[in-house]
C-alpha cells in the first residue's frame, strides 16, 4: 500500500435532519425527524436522545417525542443546503467530491503538505464547516471507503492500517453507507451475519474465489473493501467556470450613450468568456450598482442564444430603462458605478450550430429577423412584437404578442377546447370603445341573469352618432374565470349587430359588441 493515496472524508451527521431544521429556521438543538413513506429515515441528535430511531413509524416517533418537528424527505433540500458546506470545504481544500449530501471526500496529500500535517487539515476543515453552521466528523485512511468509515468513527487510520481498522467493525456496517454499496448489500450483510461471519475481518479472511463464486459481483467489491485493497480515489469536480463580466465604470454612467458604449465592451468581454467555455447564453442577468449603493437587477430571457450585439442591445435598453424611467421614485439616485453581466442560463454551443445546407427558407427567416432586430435597436425592446396563437374566447385574447427575442409563450393553450369561442370570421379591427345599446324606446339594454336581453335592441349610439340596427344576434354569454377573485364580477356576453346605413346600396357595418360590468363596449369591426 503506497502512502501516496491518502483520503479524507467529512461526514455531517444526520444531514437530512440538519437541512430540514435549517430550512424551517429551527435551532440545531431542536428535535427534528425526516420521514419517507411514513418511516423515519433521519433524526437529529436531540430527537435520538429521547428515543427516536430510524425506521420508526411517524406516529410512534411523535409519541416518543411530542415536540418533534416532522418533515418529509426532500433530496433537493439536502443538496441545496449542503452546497454551502461544499463551498466552505472548497475554500480550504479544492476539488472535493460529494458522495451524497452530508458526505464529502477529498485527496489529502497536497493539503497535508500545504498545511503541515494531516491533523492540521482536519482541524481547519472542522473549523470551516462549523463556521458554516454544520457539525461534522473527519476521518482519514488510505482508501476512500475506509476513510468514510473512519469519519463515522471520527478516527484517523494510520497509513497501511486500513484492513486492521476495518476488521473490528461489525459485518452489519457493510451496508450502512448507501453511496458506497451496490443494491443488494443489505441482503449480503444479513446473509453473512446468519452464516456466522460477525466482523468485517472475518469476511476479509475468506478467499476471494470463494466469495466470488458464492455471492456475486457486489460481494467481490465488498470483499476488496474489507481487505483495504486499492480503490478509486476521490474524483473532485471542476469548479464551474464563472460566466460573468464586470465593468467598473469610471467616470460613473449617468447617460444612455455612455451606457451603450459600456454595454458593448462588456458584451464583448462576456462573449469571450462564453466562447472559451463553448456555451451560448439564453438568460442574461444585468446587474448595476449605483454610487449610493443601490443594486438593480433584471434578467432577460431569450428564445435563442444571445449574440454579442443582442447582449449589448439588452444592456443599453436596460440602462435606458433604469436611467430614464418616467417614475421619478424608481429612478436611481446616483450614477451607475458598476455593471455586471451574468449568464444565468447557458446551452451548449452545439445548439448554436447552423445546419450545413440550411433549412428551407431559413436564410429568409434569418434575414427577416436581422431586419426586425435592427428596428428593435431603433425603437426599443417592446416595439417589435411577435404574435402567437393563444387560447381564449374573444378575438383579442386569442392572439398573444411577445416582444421579439423573448420566448413566445401563449397566455393560454390554444389546443384546449374553448367552448363558447366566437366562430369565424373574426373582426379585422379590434377596439375597446364604450357604446350604448338602446331599445326602441331609447332605454339602455342589459343582459339579464338568464343570459337574455332585457329588451330587443333597436339602436346603437357610438361617439354621439345614432344608428338603427338592421340585424342583431346574441347575446352569447361568456362564462369564464368566475372563480378568480381579481376579476371584476358581473356578466359578460357578446353580440353581433349590423347597422343600417343611410344609402340604400351600402350594406352597413357589422360590429362585435361585448357586455361587461354593466356596460357595452365596441370590440371589433367586420370589414
Amino acid at each position: 500500500m503506497s502512502v501516496a493515496s491518502r483520503v479524507l472524508a467529512i461526514w455531517c451527521m444526520d444531514w437530512p435532519a440538519v437541512a430540514a431544521a435549517a430550512a424551517a429556521g429551527l435551532p440545531a438543538t431542536s428535535p427534528v425527524a425526516v420521514t419517507l413513506a411514513n418511516r423515519v429515515i433521519a433524526c437529529s441528535s436531540a430527537a435520538r436522545s429521547v428515543g427516536v430511531r430510524r425506521g420508526l413509524r411517524r406516529r410512534e416517533a411523535s409519541a416518543r417525542c411530542p415536540q418533534l418537528h416532522v418533515v418529509a424527505a426532500d433530496p433537493d433540500r439536502d443538496a441545496r443546503f449542503f452546497e454551502g458546506v461544499v463551498a466552505v470545504v472548497d475554500d480550504v481544500v479544492p476539488r472535493a467530491e460529494v458522495l451524497r449530501p452530508g458526505l464529502v471526500v477529498l485527496p489529502v496529500r497536497g493539503a497535508a503538505r500545504f498545511f503541515g500535517s494531516e491533523q492540521q487539515v482536519a482541524e481547519r476543515l472542522t473549523d470551516a464547516v462549523a463556521a458554516a453552521g454544520a457539525e461534522c466528523q473527519v476521518g482519514m485512511a488510505d482508501q476512500l471507503p475506509t476513510a468514510v468509515f473512519a469519519a463515522r468513527a471520527g478516527r484517523v487510520v494510520p497509513p497501511g492500517e486500513d484492513a486492521r481498522f476495518l476488521s473490528a467493525l461489525s459485518i452489519r456496517q457493510l451496508a450502512t453507507e448507501p453511496s458506497l454499496s451496490g443494491p443488494g448489500r443489505a441482503d449480503l450483510a444479513d446473509l453473512l451475519w446468519r452464516m456466522g461471519i460477525r466482523t468485517i475481518g472475518q469476511f476479509a479472511a475468506l478467499s476471494r474465489t470463494d466469495v466470488a463464486s458464492r455471492f456475486g459481483a457486489d460481494a467481490v467489491s465488498a470483499h476488496r473493501f474489507a481487505r483495504g485493497e486499492p480503490e478509486r480515489g476521490p474524483s473532485g469536480r471542476e469548479p464551474p467556470a464563472e460566466l460573468d463580466a464586470v465593468l467598473q465604470c469610471d467616470p460613473p454612467i449617468d447617460r444612455v450613450d455612455a451606457a451603450a458604449f459600456a454595454g458593448r465592451s462588456l458584451a464583448s468581454a462576456l462573449h469571450q468568456t462564453l466562447l472559451a467555455a463553448g456555451v451560448g447564453c439564453t438568460r442574461l442577468a444585468v446587474h448595476a450598482v449605483t454610487a449610493n449603493g443601490e443594486e438593480l437587477t433584471r434578467v432577460w430571457r431569450c428564445a435563442e442564444p444571445l449574440t454579442e450585439d443582442a447582449t449589448a442591445d439588452r444592456v443599453r435598453w436596460q440602462l435606458d430603462g433604469w436611467l430614464n424611467t418616467r417614475i421619478v421614485v424608481d429612478r436611481p439616485t446616483a450614477p451607475v458605478v458598476q455593471l455586471r453581466l451574468q449568464a444565468v442560463e447557458v446551452v451548449s454551443a452545439g445548439a448554436l450550430q447552423l445546419p450545413l445546407w440550411g433549412g428551407l427558407g431559413e436564410e429568409d427567416r434569418m434575414r427577416a429577423r436581422r431586419a426586425l432586430v435592427r428596428v428593435q435597436g431603433l425603437l426599443g425592446p417592446e416595439a417589435v412584437q411577435v404574435p402567437t396563437l393563444s387560447g381564449g374566447r374573444g378575438p383579442a385574447e386569442r392572439i398573444t404578442l411577445t416582444p421579439l427575442g423573448d420566448e413566445p409563450v401563449p397566455l393560454a393553450d390554444p389546443n384546449r377546447p374553448w367552448p363558447g369561442q366566437l366562430p369565424e370570421p373574426s373582426p379585422t379591427v379590434l377596439l375597446d370603445d364604450p357604446v350604448e345599446l338602446l331599445d326602441a324606446q331609447g332605454n339602455s339594454i342589459r343582459v339579464t341573469s338568464r343570459g337574455l336581453f332585457s329588451a330587443d335592441p333597436a339602436r346603437l349610439t357610438t361617439r354621439g352618432r345614432d344608428n338603427r340596427l338592421h340585424w342583431w344576434a346574441g347575446p352569447w354569454p361568456v362564462d369564464e374565470r368566475w372563480w378568480d377573485p381579481d376579476r371584476a364580477g358581473g356578466r359578460t356576453a357578446r353580440v353581433q349587430v349590423l347597422l343600417e346605413s343611410e344609402r340604400p346600396a351600402d350594406p352597413g357595418t357589422a360590429l362585435l359588441l361585448c357586455y361587461r360590468q354593466r356596460r357595452w363596449y365596441l370590440e371589433g369591426i367586420y370589414e
Partner: protein, 227 residues
C-alpha cells in the same frame, strides 16, 4: 452565356452576334429594372427571372383584379376595408414569405390566421414612433411584404422615390394604408359589399361571411373591379 451562344452558332457573323447580344442585354435590364430585383444569392441574372422570384402570391380575392400577381418592389396604396391588407399578408406568409405590419395597433390578427396566415413569419410594430417610413425602409432588408399605416399622413414624392428605389432593390412590396403615397404604382380600394348571415331574422344566426368589392387602378394594371 456568350460562350455558349458562340459555340452553338459558330457561323453568325460579328454584326449579327452583336445585335443579338444587345437585344439580350436590353431584356435583362428590363427584367431586373421593372419587375423587381433578383434576390441576394442570385448574382447571375437569367434573362427572365423565374415567376415565383419576381412576384408575390395574392389572395383569391385579388386573382381577377391582379391577374399578374403582385410584383415585388411595388408600392400599393390600399384604402377601405381592412380585410384586404390582412388577406395579402395571409397569402404571402402562407407561401413562406415574411411580412410585417407597421403602425396598426388595432389590427385583428386572428382574422389573418383564419385567412391562412403563418404567424411565425409575421411581426407587428404597433408604434413605429415619429417616422414610420424610416422603420419600413429598415424592414425592407428582410421582409417580403410590409403593411405600413401612415396615420393619415402623405409621403411626398422626394421621400417616396428613395424608399421605392430601396424597395425595388430589396424586392420588398410595400402596402400603404391610412395615408397617401405619391407616385404609387397601384391603388386598391376595398369596400364591404355585403354581409352573409346564417339567418336574416334579427336575434338569430351569426355573421358567416363578409363580401368585399375591390377596385384596382394604377400604372401597372388596367382599371378593374372584382367582387
Amino acid at each position: 452565356m456568350t460562350a455558349m451562344l458562340a459555340s452553338e452558332q459558330p457561323h453568325l457573323n460579328r454584326a449579327d452576334q452583336l445585335k443579338q447580344l444587345r437585344r439580350q442585354m436590353a431584356g435583362i435590364s428590363e427584367a431586373s429594372g421593372k419587375i423587381g430585383s433578383p434576390r441576394r444569392g442570385h448574382a447571375h441574372v437569367d434573362d427572365l427571372l423565374p415567376d415565383s422570384e419576381a412576384r408575390l402570391p395574392v389572395p383569391q380575392l385579388l386573382a381577377s383584379v391582379l391577374p399578374d400577381a403582385l410584383p415585388r418592389g411595388a408600392v400599393a396604396v390600399l384604402s377601405g376595408a381592412r380585410s384586404l391588407p390582412l388577406s395579402m399578408v395571409a397569402a404571402v406568409t402562407a407561401a413562406g414569405g415574411n411580412a410585417a405590419i407597421v403602425g396598426q395597433p388595432n389590427v385583428g390578427l386572428l382574422a389573418a390566421v383564419e385567412m391562412g396566415a403563418d404567424l411565425s413569419r409575421l411581426a407587428v410594430i404597433p408604434d413605429p414612433g415619429t417616422d414610420p417610413v424610416e422603420v419600413a425602409a429598415v424592414l425592407m432588408d428582410g421582409m417580403d411584404l410590409i403593411v405600413l399605416a401612415l396615420g393619415g399622413r402623405s409621403v411626398p414624392m422626394t421621400r417616396a422615390r428613395a424608399v421605392v428605389a430601396r424597395a425595388q432593390q430589396k424586392g420588398c412590396t410595400l402596402l400603404v394604408t391610412d395615408g397617401d403615397w405619391q407616385g404609387a404604382s397601384m391603388r386598391l380600394k376595398a369596400r364591404v359589399s355585403g354581409y352573409e348571415t346564417t339567418s336574416d331574422k334579427p336575434g338569430f344566426g351569426r355573421i358567416s361571411k363578409v363580401r368585399l368589392e375591390v377596385c384596382a387602378a394604377g400604372r401597372a394594371i388596367r382599371q378593374a373591379r372584382a367582387v
